[in-house]
Structure formats: structure tokens, C-alpha cells
């Protein structure tokens, strides 16, 4: 553990470099003024300003001064350290300096971008610079430590994103654990009949990938399972996975349906999750014919044997391979992985939350997901779109933006609804020849071949009415409206209020974060945005990374996405994970704590406080000892050390106290 010793590098020579960041900083902060100010600060030997410090010429300024021996430590006043600290540290190191003889003053995010008054902004910038200088004076050369990275990858969520990520990583030769909560992988995509805009069949493109997952030698697939706990850090995560009992032995079951046919419930009578309740299933079931793994599962909530123990359980006899086992217990698997990719997806908006659309009140009003199942050849109606009375609808209304772009529910645009509404319009028309009315706020069709698809639908004589629907009811004002669902909406292009009588309504529901997104993010120690989507490290420059190193995001868990974007992002997330793994080791910030042994009284206050048990007591020397490999550098122990005998690299008491003095005193 390196211990600060200022004598080793003599009287500090501080170089201060103020960045204009184009005009981002310069238009509110008087750079010239700050330069003048910085020059007067103690130990400052060089002050320069430059348009873009992060550019090569900018970095070169620093490197040159260092090589010329003008400076031995550096302060850059520019953007947030979270943005460019690494950049400048590298520059300093490349010039032969020590990366940690460096401090950044955040005069963009914390000053120029949030302050209107130029004088106030300049004062604040000065204070931050003074603080950085005061602190860097006490900086010490440090070495990064590095730890090896476990090459295995955990992927959470078996939708299209998780599947694609798993296959990509597995094909790269990595061992992959794919954990899915449901009894089968496939996610939402498996429920669709066709995909926009190409209208190729969802199953045809998805199921091969699903079976590839099943058969891939590098992939361990755990369905009907959930991550129960995550410990450790980038490159070295310890993960607990809870595998719920499915009461059917995965190895033995061949998915022959015999047990299902044999169930005491002759008629299926429990809402079928996969068909979003449009059909019924038995307590023992296989979600759908291409389920992966193709293994039956018993629902403990509805199985008579499990609930009462008083069932003749003919299923057991029916199974020639004796796969059914009511004694199955929950299993906790413990695995070590180096990287984690979250692909936990989304849930659809509950249309009954918009009471004026009558979902759940009037018959023949469906959510788009229900219609997806209805139009699916393998779905509850064999692909037929039918009214509750069994007839074909003659007129169908499709209401866009249900639970999207609406301050009463969700503000965001769900991005996929316009396109899938077009797709559903096409499919319904194709199957019923009904008149289709789309009610939209704006048609949002950015994407390859998307606008063309919209054009195509226009040619197919699908009606488009621009206006948010006010209400859907059975209130007829004219004979032709009798017995119909009447959609009232303002046609904003014509400027009239329309009443459109239809037989069936499709509510194009938006996408929402999973109900338990907040628990999941806590589990993996990442953040959620206000809306509840997982928060990426940077919206543009790090869209698949999180603030927790080694945890990456794929698909709709980060925000609404269509299939192509999900797959693309899954690829990106996997690439990031592979980059991390193939680097072989991760460098750890050397901001670890260390004990001043000669003055540690061995009071042991610190030992119980370390969340990583990185501090132990040396009974011989009677002092506390920090294990640098385990220490994550939070500094809790340092703050509580009663005699100031514990310090933290990059955050010693002296450095922080100096920074405080700097930030209040100089301006």
C-alpha cells in the first residue's frame, strides 16, 4: 500500500489548465479571469487555457509542460471527472507522470451549465479551481492494482435481447448462464404472429434462436428461475440463482403432453398466461408448442395434488419416463461470473387504467397484446379475429398511444405502438376484410422500411384519423350506431368531432418498466431513471453500460425498443462484456484505505464497519490491517478512525480538508 510522502517529490509544481469546451464553459465563465486568478494560487507554476482540453492538442499542452519539468502535478478545469478524468490521467501517465498527480475541477456540469450570472459562475469556477489546486498539492504517486476477470457471463432475461446476447457471448466461446423467470424463453416476441415491417413470422425467426440456446454447449439455461443475490464487483461477481421447482424433471421430460392430457381437470380452466388469459390451461402445462425447454411445468397455485395432496395425480402414471416429481424443492445455484447483462424487458400498459376507453367494461375491446395472440396462427383462436359472438368484425378501431404520451399515465412515447398498430391493422384486414380506423396523435415511423410500411397501409385503404380518442362507449345516437362500440375523437386534420361506430376496438398499449424493476436494480446495484427504466451510464456515449462496472443493459429494460433495436443493443452489450472479459483483468481505482501502523492504537473501531470485511486485526502488532484487494474505497472506516490513523488514497483527511479550505477561502 503506497503511503503518501511529499518529500519524495519535493515542492509541488502545479499546472492549471482551463478548458473553454468550445463555448460551453467560455460563454458563462470568464476564462481569462480564472486564468489570472489561478496563477496567484500557491504552488502553481503554469496556467493555460484552451478551446478543448480533451482534444489531442489540449492533452499535448499538459504533456509538454510535464516533459519540460514545468509541472509535476496537474489540475484541469473542464467537465465532470466522471466524463474525462480517465482521459487526462492517461495523458499525464503517457508523458511519464503518475496518473494520480491529477485533479479535475468540474466547471461545466457544476458551473457553466447551471448558472446564468456570469460573475457568479466565474467566482464559483475560481473556487473549484482553488480547491483542486489546494488538494492536488498533497497528491501522491499511486499505482493501479488489477484483478483477473472471470470469463463467464450471466444474462438475466430470456427475451429476444437475452437470447441474442447469450448466443453472441456463447459463440465467442464464453460460458453463459441464461436465467429466465418464466417456464420458457422467448419473451414477448414469442407471442407475436408477424413482425413489422417485413411481416415475416415471428416464430420462424425466433424459434431457431431459442433451440440454438437450448443446444449450445456454452450456454447453461435456467428457466423458471430468478437471480436471488449478487455480490462482488466487476470481473468477480458471485451470483445466487433461485430455481423454482417445476415438479417435472427437466432432464427426463420430453414434452409429450401425455401428463397434460391425463390431468384430472378434463377441461382446462385456468387462465393461460402465455395467451394473456384468452384461453385456459390445466395446472400442468407447456406454455406453447415451441416452448424452450419443451418441458411441462406444474403450477402450484392450481394443482390439486400440491394444494390439497388429495389428487389421484394420473399425470404421474401417464408419464412413461417418471419425470413428474411432487417432492421437487427450490434449488439455489451459486455461480461466479465476470460480467452481467440485464435483459429483463418490459410490461405492457394496463388499459383499464384509462377508464374512458371501457377496457374490461365492454366486450370486444382488446389490448394490442391480446390481438397479437388472436392473430397468431398458434394462438387461442387459431389466428382468426373474431368477436365474442363468433362473428367477424366489420369495423375495427385501433387506438394509438394508450398509456403513452399522456401526462395522466406515461409521458414517454413507447416507440413501437405506431408500427405494431399498422401491422395489426394489416393482419386484421387481411383476416377479416373489416374497415380499420387508426386513431393516432402522430405517426412515428422512423426506421428502415417503416415509413414505406405506413404508405402501404394507406394504399390498403386503412383509415387514419389524427386525434386522441376521447371515449369509447356503447352510446348510440343514430340507428347505425346501435349495438356498436362508438369511438369519439376529434379529427384534428378536419377539425370535427367524429363518432365512429365499430365492432371491435384494439387499444395499442404502451410499454412500461417491469413491475419489479426497482427490486431488480437494487439487486444489481444500478439506478433507474424517473420513469423506472434502467439508467444507462451515458445516454449517448455509454448507452449499454451502467454506473456499476461489469453490469450491462440490453433491450427494453433500458427503455422502449423494437426488435431490431433490442437485438442491436444486445449485441452492443455483449461486445462490452466481451471487451471486459478479454482484457483479462480489471484495473481498480487505487482509492483504497490504508493504516498508519506506527500510530494505530488497535482500537478496532474500523473493523466492524467495513462492508467487505477488508479490515482485520493483527494480534501480533496490535494494529488494524487493510486488505487492498478487498477494499472498495468507500472510506467509511477512515471517517470513523478515532485517531486519524486510517487514511484513504486520493481522499486523505489532509487532501479533503485542503480542498474544503480551497473551496471556501480563495474567492
Amino acid at each position: 500500500m503506497s503511503q503518501p510522502n511529499m518529500k519524495s517529490n519535493g515542492t509541488p509544481k502545479v499546472g492549471v489548465y482551463v478548458c473553454h469546451c468550445g463555448i460551453n464553459i467560455a460563454h458563462t465563465v470568464d476564462v481569462a479571469e480564472t486564468v489570472k486568478f489561478a496563477a496567484k494560487l500557491p504552488y502553481v507554476t503554469v496556467v493555460r487555457d484552451y478551446k478543448f482540453m480533451c482534444s489531442d492538442p489540449g492533452q499535448e499542452l499538459i504533456q509538454q509542460d510535464f516533459r519540460d519539468g514545468k509541472v509535476d502535478r496537474v489540475v484541469v478545469a473542464s467537465c465532470s471527472p466522471l466524463m474525462h478524468e480517465a482521459t487526462f490521467r492517461r495523458a499525464l501517465a503517457e508523458a511519464g507522470g503518475n496518473a494520480f498527480m491529477f485533479q479535475m475541477a468540474n466547471i461545466r456540469e457544476h458551473v457553466s451549465w447551471v448558472t446564468l450570472d456570469k460573475v457568479a459562475a466565474t467566482d464559483k469556477a475560481k473556487a473549484l479551481i482553488a480547491a483542486a489546486v489546494a488538494r492536488v498539492v498533497l497528491h501522491q504517486p499511486l499505482q493501479k492494482t488489477s484483478v483477473p476477470v472471470n470469463p463467464d457471463v450471466l444474462i438475466v432475461g430470456g427475451g429476444i435481447s437475452g437470447i441474442h446476447a447469450a448466443l453472441t457471448a456463447a459463440n465467442a466461446g464464453k460460458k453463459v448462464y441464461l436465467v429466465e423467470r418464466d417456464p420458457t424463453i422467448g419473451g414477448h416476441m414469442a407471442k407475436f404472429d408477424k413482425t413489422f415491417p417485413t411481416l415475416d413470422c415471428s416464430a420462424c425467426i425466433l424459434t431457431p434462436k431459442m433451440s440454438a440456446v437450448r443446444s449450445h454447449p456454452n450456454i447453461t439455461l435456467w428457466t423458471y428461475s430468478e437471480v436471488a443475490g449478487v455480490e462482488g464487483y466487476v470481473g468477480n461477481f458471485k451470483v445466487k440463482v433461485r430455481r423454482k421447482p417445476r415438479y417435472v424433471d427437466e432432464e427426463l421430460c420430453v414434452g409429450c403432453y401425455e401428463c397434460i392430457e391425463a390431468c384430472v381437470y378434463k377441461k382446462p380452466r385456468f387462465p393461460d398466461e402465455f395467451n394473456v388469459g384468452l384461453s385456459m390451461r390445466r395446472p400442468i402445462y407447456i406454455p406453447f408448442p415451441q416452448a424452450t425447454p419443451l418441458v411441462a411445468v406444474i403450477d402450484p397455485e392450481t394443482c390439486a395434488q400440491i394444494k390439497t395432496g388429495k389428487c389421484k395425480h394420473p399425470c404421474v402414471e401417464a408419464c412413461l419416463r417418471n419425470a413428474i416429481n411432487f417432492d421437487q424443492k427450490e434449488v439455489i445455484e451459486e455461480i461466479d461470473v465476470g460480467a452481467i447483462i440485464l435483459a429483463t424487458g418490459f410490461k405492457t400498459f394496463d388499459a383499464s387504467r384509462v377508464s374512458r376507453y371501457g377496457y374490461g367494461k365492454y366486450p370486444n375491446i382488446y389490448s394490442s397484446l391480446e390481438i397479437e395472440r388472436m392473430t397468431n396462427a398458434a394462438g387461442p383462436t387459431g389466428g382468426e379475429v373474431r368477436l365474442t359472438n363468433g362473428e367477424k368484425p366489420k369495423a375495427v378501431g385501433i387506438v394509438h398511444c394508450v398509456g403513452s404520451r399522456d401526462n395522466h399515465t406515461n409521458q414517454w412515447c413507447s416507440r413501437v405502438c405506431c408500427m405494431y398498430s399498422l401491422k395489426l391493422a394489416h393482419l386484421i384486414k387481411e383476416r377479416t376484410e373489416a374497415e380499420i380506423y387508426n386513431f393516432y396523435i402522430d405517426m412515428r415511423t422512423p426506421g428502415k422500411g417503416y415509413e414505406e410500411f405506413y404508405e402501404r397501409l394507406l394504399k390498403e385503404n386503412v383509415h387514419f384519423i389524427r386525434g386522441r380518442v376521447a371515449e369509447i362507449s356503447d352510446w348510440a345516437m343514430t340507428p347505425e350506431e346501435e349495438g356498436k362500440l362508438v369511438i369519439r375523437a376529434e379529427d384534428t386534420l378536419v377539425g370535427v368531432v367524429r363518432r365512429i361506430p365499430v365492432d371491435m376496438v384494439v387499444l395499442s398499449v404502451g410499454l412500461e418498466p417491469q413491475a419489479d424493476a426497482d427490486d431488480v436494480r437494487r439487486l444489481f446495484n444500478i439506478s433507474c431513471g424517473k420513469e423506472g427504466w434502467f439508467l444507462e451510464r451515458h445516454p449517448k456515449l455509454a448507452p449499454v453500460s451502467t454506473f456499476t462496472d461489469g453490469v450491462f443493459l440490453a433491450g427494453a429494460c433500458q427503455g422502449p425498443k423494437d426488435i431490431p433495436d433490442c437485438v442491436a443493443q444486445a449485441g452492443a452489450a455483449t461486445a462490452e462484456a466481451l471487451a471486459l472479459i478479454d482484457a483479462g483483468k480489471v484495473e481498480l481505482e487505487p482509492n483504497t484505505a490504508y493504516v498508519l501502523e506506527e500510530v494505530c492504537s488497535g482500537c478496532q473501531t474500523c473493523i466492524g464497519l467495513c462492508p467487505y470485511s477488508a479490515i482485520t486485526f493483527d494480534k501480533e502488532k496490535k494494529v488494524a490491517v487493510v486488505n487492498g484487494a478487498l477494499c472498495k474505497g468507500c472510506g467509511t472506516c477512515v471517517a470513523s478512525c478515532p485517531s486519524g490513523s486510517l487514511q484513504q488514497n486520493l481522499f486523505t483527511d489532509a487532501q479533503i480538508l485542503h480542498e474544503i479550505k480551497g473551496v471556501v477561502n480563495y474567492v
Binding site: Q604, T605, F617, S640, P642, S643
Partner: protein, 327 residues
């Protein structure tokens, strides 16, 4: 050659520091033979004018104990500073303000009111308060003025060394005297005591559990104390971990939790702040209410954590709101 000349003086103090010198027992003879004591109000009959008469810098060392809180004390210590080559702040009060320093929780007005009106044993119908001057038939009488705020010695004069403790333990007094006599003194400004916390030499140190986590704080009278076990581990607020060693745990030995008279180590800038941080950190609670409850057992935080050091604390005294600017 003539022996080095020394002076002892007391300001706001209890006299315990004087006792400590006497506690040198027969060793004091050694001291007396080694030095000439030029001034020691408690023991020898010298007067102010005797000191005044001394040439500047003629004293080798002045040992000054007690905090400074009156014009007289201020005048005397400034005079002694002039006359001495070195000044040693002797004992907690001179070093950090000590017990008198707790007066900084109040102002002069409150203090006088308390002593001259409120104390039950006082009868003072005319509400007489000490006056700095009084015209008596014999002429003008004067009294020193009591300050609003108690100061440490180094807040009024330049101090060379500090001898901590209430009172300073005999052992470190001896070591200091030897250092002075042999001229082997550390750099100016040093505290003449080991720069390590008490736990290191506490007789109970080996009974300390590996992890100190406290679910309930208690005060000595509330429990039947284990007379070997670490006091902090028993839930008593013992400041041993925060406080300089040098006393060999004379209090903890006697089942009295350390109250911090030796002051902080050189690495701590505010004794109370650090002590509080250490004690609060080891509370065994996460829920806000539980934490509050557990810490309510720590009565009078200021008196507990700044018992000897309020005037050297970064806040210096109880903050009294001043009128807003522009008003």
C-alpha cells in the same frame, strides 16, 4: 554556569496542575536543584512587579496552566511570554480550554447571572455584580474583567509546547523536564506526549472484541460493570480510542471511561467531531428511528465529546446568532 530559570503560573484552573508538579514527589527535589524557580504564585511569594522587573527572555521556560478568560490572566501570560524563551501550555485547560472551557456554552452575562443571582445559596437582593472599577473612599478599586469567551493559552500568546492531561501524568511531566534540561526538544508546537491513542496502553485492551458494535449506550451508574472488559464494548462511551495515550489508562484502570483529557492525536483537527464520528459509527442500527433512539442514550454530546476541548474546537464556542447583514 547558572541554572535555567523557570516560572510556573496558573490561570483559569483548579489547581490540580500545581498538584501534579508536587506529585513528582521526591523527584521534585531533583527539579528544584536543576532549575531556579523564579515565579510560582501557588508556592512562593513573588509578585507581579518581580516578573515585570525580569529582563525579556531571561526565563528559560514558563509552565502555564489554566485557560485564559480574564484581562488579568491575559496580561500575565503576555508578560511571561515576553520574559520566557519557551512557553509550555501545562495541562488540559491551557492546552484545550479544559473544563473551564465548557463555559463557552454560555456568555458572560448568563454565567454571572447564574453565580450571582440564580445559585440557591446566594442572597443578593441588590443584584450586585462584580464591577471592573469601583470608587471607594480609599480611592479607585479595580477588578480584572471576565471575558465573554474562554480562550486556550495558544489563542492569546504564542506557545512552544503542550503538556496535555488533567492533570498531566507525572510520567510525561518528567519526560518533558528531562527533554528540556537535556535540550532534546521536538520541533516547536509539539504536544509532549505519544502521538497514539490510549487503547494501545489501556489495561483492558486485550478484552476488546474484534468488532465493536454497540446496540445500547449506557452510563457507568446504569450497569454493573465488568472490571476487566473493554469499557466501550460494555456500551460505555469511552473516548480512549480518540485520546492520546500517556496516562497509562489511569481512569480505565479504575473502571472510569476515558473522557479525553489528553486531547486528540496530531492527525485529528477537532476532537469532538472525531470522537462523535467514531462513537456514532459503531451504533448497531440502520433504521433512522432506531439510530436516533440508540444515540439518544448519549446525553449532552457537547459535554461528552468536547469535555476538555470546546475552546479549541473548530466552532470555538456556542454560536450566538448575530444580526443579519444589512439590518
Amino acid at each position: 554556569m547558572s541554572k535555567p530559570k523557570v516560572a510556573f503560573y496558573w490561570c483559569a484552573s483548579c489547581g490540580g496542575c500545581e498538584e501534579a508538579v508536587v506529585d513528582l514527589a521526591e523527584d521534585i527535589l531533583g527539579v528544584v536543584s536543576a532549575v531556579d524557580i523564579m515565579f510560582w504564585p501557588v508556592a512562593l511569594d513573588f509578585k507581579r512587579h518581580d516578573v515585570e522587573a525580569m529582563p525579556d527572555g531571561s526565563l528559560a521556560v514558563s509552565f502555564i496552566n489554566g485557560a485564559v478568560r480574564s484581562s488579568e490572566q491575559h496580561e500575565m501570560v503576555e508578560m511571561l511570554r515576553k520574559k520566557s524563551q519557551a512557553v509550555i501550555a501545562f495541562g488540559s485547560c491551557a492546552h484545550m480550554g479544559g473544563i473551564p472551557g465548557l463555559a463557552n456554552m454560555f456568555g458572560r452575562k448568563e454565567l454571572l447571572a447564574n453565580s450571582y443571582f440564580d445559585v440557591p445559596s446566594v442572597i443578593n437582593d441588590q443584584k450586585v455584580l462584580p464591577q471592573t472599577t469601583f470608587d471607594a473612599p480609599e480611592g479607585k478599586l479595580t477588578l480584572p474583567e471576565m471575558w465573554e469567551t474562554v480562550k486556550t493559552l495558544d489563542q492569546v500568546i504564542d506557545v512552544d509546547y503542550y503538556l496535555p492531561g488533567c492533570p498531566p501524568p507525572v510520567k510525561i511531566i518528567k519526560e518533558a523536564l528531562n527533554a528540556i534540561l537535556t535540550g532534546q526538544l521536538p520541533p516547536k508546537g509539539a504536544v509532549l506526549a505519544p502521538d497514539e491513542a490510549l487503547c494501545d496502553e489501556c489495561p483492558r485492551r486485550d478484552t476488546k472484541p474484534d468488532k465493536i458494535i454497540i446496540s445500547k449506550f449506557v452510563r457507568p451508574h446504569q450497569i454493573l460493570m465488568d472490571h476487566e472488559k473493554c469499557l466501550l464494548a460494555q456500551g460505555l462511551v469511552c473516548l480512549g480510542p480518540v485520546t492520546r495515550k500517556g496516562c497509562e489508562g489511569s481512569c480505565t484502570k479504575a473502571s472510569m471511561p476515558c473522557t479525553g483529557c489528553m486531547g486528540p492525536t496530531s492527525r485529528v483537527v477537532d476532537f469532538g467531531g472525531k470522537a462523535l464520528s467514531a462513537i456514532a459509527s459503531i451504533v448497531d442500527a440502520k433504521d433512522e428511528r432506531e439510530i436516533e433512539a440508540a444515540l439518544m442514550e448519549v446525553v449532552d454530546p457537547v459535554g461528552t465529546f468536547y469535555r476538555y476541548s470546546l475552546p479549541t474546537s473548530l466552532l470555538h464556542r456556542r454560536y450566538v446568532q448575530t444580526v443579519k447583514e444589512g439590518e
